[in-house]
């Protein structure tokens, strides 16, 4: 039964997406089909979440290249984020794309991306994961060029090239790991063959360093972060919501699998590789926040914000301590929730008001109070104001850094986290302040159709409640994730 569910989880959205064009032009049929697939998928994933760990061998391309699925704690985490995230964003997309002529193609690729993503979450070895990683890139690219404008095509190509270039870097690492690992299957703690690797440590570390940099392209890690700020402003809001909230996390998952399930943290802890990674991650955290602070186009601002926030997660992974990893994994969930929410609210402003720049949002709270409230709660959570969720992950990340015992980084990391939080407050809260308190003379914003109906403000409201609630009642989650983190060392 579990095996059937595993295959179902991957095939269902892929099949649904591929068959969607058959649903015809009728908008209602189309939406019902998409909704049915998304709900079914969420159901399958929920069923999988409560089942025990398992592995499933599918087929072998050659003796060494096998395709297999695997269900463990890490895949549960990412699976849940992907399936539920796509479901709620899908509901929002129905409202957002209601005047769009290309709904069918959008939802086709939307479901296909979900399928590829689920495949990546469930991948049982490096080869399978690499296959699905490339698939995610190819299938999510059409989401970026949905508008078919010159800008969007250029951005989509940029996304494609960055991801493919990153994947090739990673492929290079996979070749080496294939030689020096016992197996390419995922095993907690890594499968590096000590005898074979002896004498080639420096080479191996360099290759792994590059591999993580390559997978990091999808997560927006410097220096391959450039596609995020280009792709976001041109993609439709639901697409950029899943792109930065969920698809970018595919990069995180790949890095996590590579470090903790193939190489093993022991091989890397305390080496130059770790320092270099941490340096890059901290640089990205600071740089992303600062760029967001300077940026006036709010979708681009959120894109830079994602660059910064996902590097929080990567920093947690690179600390190579259980506490840091717990913080990183927590932030995967929280950031997904918050960023999807923020992009949705911003999308509502674009959709209902036609605004694109931050300075146009003055007095928006009068016209769209519910949306701005959701935005505000999300913003507070992202800054990390207690008791909202961002605070909890930041607490663990900072504790992980302080407890790691690394020279310089042990105190620099929390300081950068807090400076970045300050900048986050600096680029998000003024929108709230000017929106709700524009001053007495401020003119009202002309809202064409109010908040755009419950389909438009409902999903952000639910996510806002989650962003706060997950922080207040996070103890169970934290326990689960820290016991998961503890098994990887």
């Amino acid at each position: 039964m579990t095996n059937i569910l595993l295959v179902c989880a991957v095939v269902l959205p892929l099949l649904g997406g591929a068959m969607l064009p058959l649903a015809g032009k009728d908008r209602r049929v189309l939406r019902l089909t998409v909704l049915a697939v998304l709900i079914l998928e969420a159901g399958v994933v929920t069923a999988l979440l409560v089942r025990p760990d398992t592995e499933l061998f599918l087929f072998a391309m050659t003796d060494t290249l096998t395709v297999s699925l695997r269900m463990d704690g890490v895949s549960r985490l990412f699976l849940a984020v992907a399936a539920y995230g796509f479901l709620i964003t899908g509901v929002y997309a129905f409202a957002y794309l209601s005047h769009d002529g290309r709904e069918s193609s959008f939802f086709s690729f939307y479901l296909l991306s979900l399928g590829a993503l689920v495949g990546m979450d469930l991948a049982g070895n490096l080869i399978t994961m690499y296959l699905f990683f490339e698939l995610v890139t190819l299938l999510s690219m059409p989401l970026v060029l949905h508008d078919r404008t010159e800008d969007s095509i250029r951005a989509a190509l940029k996304y494609l090239f960055y991801s493919v270039a990153g994947a090739f870097l990673a492929l290079c690492a996979i070749f080496f790991l294939g030689k020096y690992c016992v197996t390419l299957d995922f095993r907690p703690g890594g499968t590096l063959d000590g005898a074979k690797a002896a004498g080639h440590e420096t080479l191996l570390r360099a290759v792994i360093f590059l591999g993580v940099l390559g997978f990091g392209a999808k997560a927006g890690l410097y220096p391959l972060h450039g596609w995020l700020p280009s792709a976001h402003p041109v993609a439709p809001a639901p697409a950029s919501a899943v792109l930065s909230g969920i698809i970018a996390k595919a990069g995180v998952l790949a890095v996590l699998r590579l470090i903790y399930f193939c190489v093993g943290p022991d091989f890397l802890a305390g080496t130059w590789v770790q320092y270099a990674w941490l340096g890059l991650a901290l640089l990205t955290v600071f740089m992303g926040s600062m760029m967001a602070y300077r940026e006036k186009v709010f979708k681009k601002r959120l894109a830079y914000s994602s660059v910064s926030q996902i590097s929080y997660v990567l920093m947690g992974l690179f600390l190579l301590t259980p506490t840091g990893l717990t913080g990183g994994l927590l932030h995967v969930i929280f950031h997904a929730c918050i960023k999807i929410l923020l992009v949705m609210t911003v999308g509502s402003w674009i959709h209902n008001l036609g605004f694109h720049r931050v300075d146009e949002l003055r007095a928006v709270g009068r016209a769209m109070p519910k949306t701005l409230w959701a935005f505000t709660l999300g913003a507070l959570a992202l800054v990390g104001i207690p008791p909202a969720s961002g605070f909890v992950s930041k607490w663990y990340l900072a504790e992980g850094a302080l407890g790691s015992g690394l020279p310089v980084y042990s105190w620099l990391a929390p300081v950068i986290l807090l400076i970045s939080a300050l900048l986050t407050a600096g680029y998000l809260l003024p929108i709230t302040v000017d929106g709700f308190f524009p001053g007495r003379e401020a003119r009202n914003v002309p809202a064409r159709n109010g908040e755009g109906g419950p389909m438009m403000w409902g999903p952000p409201a639910v996510l806002a409640a989650l962003a706060i609630g997950l922080g207040v009642f996070s103890a169970g989650l934290v326990r689960a994730l820290s016991s998961l983190a503890a098994t990887l060392f």
């Binding site: 640089l283 600071f286 740089m287 104001i385 207690p386 008791p387 900072a398 504790e399 809260l429 207040v472």
Partner: protein, 714 residues
């Protein structure tokens, strides 16, 4: 359970009030007042019982609450303040808009403020501290005037920065000590022993909480934010919210750094600067609420002085501890009363400038008595509660001066001068509002007898009554409060009972009052007035926020770091690098891929060969060409006249005249056929003559002729 209710009841009822207020405004007003009084009842009940509470697992580390002596006192004080301000609010806001959100945040902040004070550990305190910062932000910006928006943004910035710095302190403490429970900090610090790390952590926490308390140098928001908020909110900002900052400072000073002289000296210094600076700013201000706000800053300085003395005095710090505590309570009450008075003035006149509100208080006994009690109390006049706490603080400093010498003597004089300035600026306010007359509107002011509704008057009266009630029963009530609360401060035992009205103690008050009278008469009356109007002589440019903080944080740092991150963020380093590498690679690739090296060489070889063979094959033609261009050049011949003169022409003309060979119209001369024949003949001859062959023929003929001539001659 009672403890949790104290915090979460108002927070939970805030949305109820908000929903109610969307439909029924008067009912909402009654509802929030009821909540305020219910909270007061709850606080009293909880204070009688005490106890502890915990919410494990909430917010990961869990929240813990303790209701010990100090917190019992403060729970009641806060609940009282909120009940009074809520009672006062409907009247104050009678003609205001957007009241609903004000009440919503009023109740939220009540719960959050309670949460900070009842917190059993710094983590819990921090959680509520942050909630409080954001909910009280809505108070500051409530009026949405330009000044309010600017002040609120400053408030928000200071709150966020302070919060994050404090959080860094908490990270460090948690990492180094493994606990954040207030009562466990001291033993944990002793066991850990890492002083430098602990001092760093302490400094961070001090900055974070000090910012909320209005401690120098993070005081910048206070004199701006308090005046622009609605008066009931100002009362709470000044009287209650600043105390949460003091709570944080107390929590680390009295636990983490208990009896640490170095720490005490730092706090004492910062406290003294805050105390004096606040008093001076208050003296210069000509705005009723701004004066009171600066006064708050100064009074917080007094409290911090006490905290510092506690550190310096080691085990003999009972007086300092009691003084600190009592001054906190007293200041809360004073600011409640004074801001409610200011609110009364604003409610009627919508003005706060001293020149505009002059004489408003004349003939209004309730307002006069309340304001007078507040002023005398805060000025430290004997028989009122302010005198008691200031005396205790003064005694503590005097005691310290015996041990530590001149620095504390200096501190004592700063203390006395600040006390004097307090008297001076309160006199300024009192005289302006209650003694002087408005040049134009005095009659109108005198006629305003209905200047407060009954509930608001009740709130004002009740609040003011606390001041003499405490002051007159000092040895009972205030000593009791101090006894109750002093546990929290972990002070040493009290060695002797203080006789408040002894000559020694009266002397301190007398010095302060004398200084105050002198400053008022000499400086305020003479220097700070022009033609009877109060003028603010404080140089506008001398503003720490405008001068340093804003340029630094909004211009300089973003510019520098923005440039640096743009370098990375827009890939200004890697992109040129990549582009360079790509260009180089492409060039090399083409060099070989498109035979860039081989092809040009081959091409030039062929070009040379082609040129050479061309030259070889065309050399004869070239010679001919050269000859044609030089020797045998065609020369133009002015032929027309010759033609016209020829016989044939003339003959043709005659023939034409006879009608023969008429040419088509327009052809002119060329039409004449004879002419054409002649012309063709001549042309042919000329062409013949000029050809190379003709030349050659002539050359050969010439040669032959020459030869024949030579043969004939020889």
């Amino acid at each position: 359970m009672l403890i949790l209710l104290l915090i979460f009841l108002p927070m939970g009822l805030a949305p109820v009030g908000w929903l109610l207020g969307r439909r029924f405004k008067p009912r909402r007003d009654r509802f929030v007042i009821a909540v305020g009084f219910a909270e007061l009842l709850l606080a009293v009940a909880a204070a009688l019982r005490g106890g502890e509470a915990a919410l494990p697992d909430v917010c990961v580390l869990g929240l813990t609450f303790v209701l010990d002596g100090f917190r019992r006192v403060y729970a009641v004080v806060f609940a009282f303040m909120w009940a009074m301000t809520l009672l006062f609010s409907p009247d104050y806001f009678a003609h205001h808009r957007r009241r609903n959100r004000y009440y919503f945040f009023q109740l939220l902040t009540l719960g959050a403020t309670m949460g900070v004070f009842l917190a059993g550990d710094l983590y819990t305190a921090f959680v509520f501290f942050e909630i409080m910062s954001f909910t009280s932000f809505a108070w500051v910006i409530q009026e949405e005037t330009d000044g309010a928006i600017r002040a609120a943004k400053t408030y928000l910035a200071v709150a966020v920065i302070g919060g994050l710095v404090a959080l860094m302190g908490l990270f460090l403490l948690w990492h180094n000590l493994g606990t954040l429970t207030v009562s466990e900090l001291y033993p944990a610090a002793l066991a850990a022993g890492k002083r430098p790390a602990l001092y760093t952590a302490g400094a961070c926490v001090l900055f974070g909480f000090g910012a909320k308390a209005g401690m120098f140098p993070a005081h910048i928001w206070l004199p701006k934010a308090h005046p622009v908020a609605p008066a009931p909110a100002s009362a709470l900002l000044s009287g209650a919210l600043t105390k949460t900052g003091v709570w944080g400072i107390l929590a680390i000073s009295c636990n983490l750094f208990r009896g640490d002289p170095a720490w005490g000296a730092v706090i004492l210094t910062l406290g003294s600067v805050t105390m004096l600076l606040g008093a001076v700013l208050a003296l210069f201000s000509t705005d009723l609420k701004r004066t009171l706000a600066c006064s708050s800053m100064s009074q917080i300085g007094f409290i911090l002085t006490g905290v510092g003395m506690m550190g310096l005095l080691g085990n003999e710090n009972a007086l300092a501890a009691r003084g600190t505590l009592l001054h906190m309570v007293n200041h809360s009450v004073f600011k409640l009363v004074l801001f409610l008075c200011a609110g009364t003035v604003y409610r009627n006149l919508h003005r706060l400038d001293l020149n505009d509100i002059r004489g408003f208080g004349r003939g209004k006994p309730l307002l006069l008595v309340s304001f007078l009690l507040g002023s005398l109390g805060i000025g430290g006049v004997p028989l009122l509660n302010g005198y008691v706490s200031k005396t205790l603080l003064h005694e503590a400093i005097v005691e310290g001066a015996e041990h530590c010498g001149w620095p504390l003597t200096l501190a004592e004089w700063v203390f006395l001068v600040s006390g004097g300035l307090t008297v001076a600026y309160m006199s300024k306010l009192f005289v302006a509002v209650f003694v002087e007359k408005h040049p134009d509107r005095q009659a109108e002011f005198d006629a305003q007898k209905q200047y407060l509704s009954r509930p608001a008057a009740l709130a004002l009266g009740l609040s003011a009554a606390v001041i003499p009630a405490l002051g007159l029963t000092a040895t009972v009530s205030m000593d009791k409060i101090a006894d109750l609360a002093v546990d929290f401060l972990h002070a040493g035992p009290l060695t002797h009972k203080v006789r408040y009205l002894s000559l020694e103690n009266l002397k301190g008050a007398a010095i302060s009052i004398a200084i105050g009278a002198a400053v008022y008469l000499l400086a305020v009356r003479r220097r700070m007035r022009k033609n009877g109007d109060y003028v603010n002589c404080w140089p506008k440019k001398l503003d720490l926020e405008e001068l340093v903080y804003r340029p630094l944080l909004l211009k300089l740092l973003p510019a520098v770091f923005g440039w640096v991150s743009a370098l990375f963020g827009e890939n200004r380093i890697t992109a040129p690098l990549c582009r360079g590498v790509l260009a180089a690679g492409r060039w090399i690739g083409r060099l070989f891929g498109e035979n860039r090296l081989f092809e040009p060489a081959a091409r030039s070889f062929f070009a040379v060969m082609r040129t050479l063979s061309h030259a070889a094959s065309d050399s004869l033609d070239a010679l001919v060409l050269v000859l044609r261009r030089t020797l045998l050049r065609q020369s133009p011949e002015p032929e027309t006249d010759k033609v016209r003169r020829s016989a044939a022409y003339r003959m043709g003309t005659e023939l034409d005249r006879l009608g023969l060979g008429r040419a088509p119209a327009g052809e002119g001369d060329r039409g004449r056929w004879v002419y054409r024949v002649v012309r063709t003949w001549r042309e042919t001859g000329r062409l013949l003559r000029t050809t190379l062959s003709f030349g050659l023929l002539m050359l050969i003929l010439g040669l032959a002729g020459g030869l024949i001539w030579l043969l004939w001659r020889l």
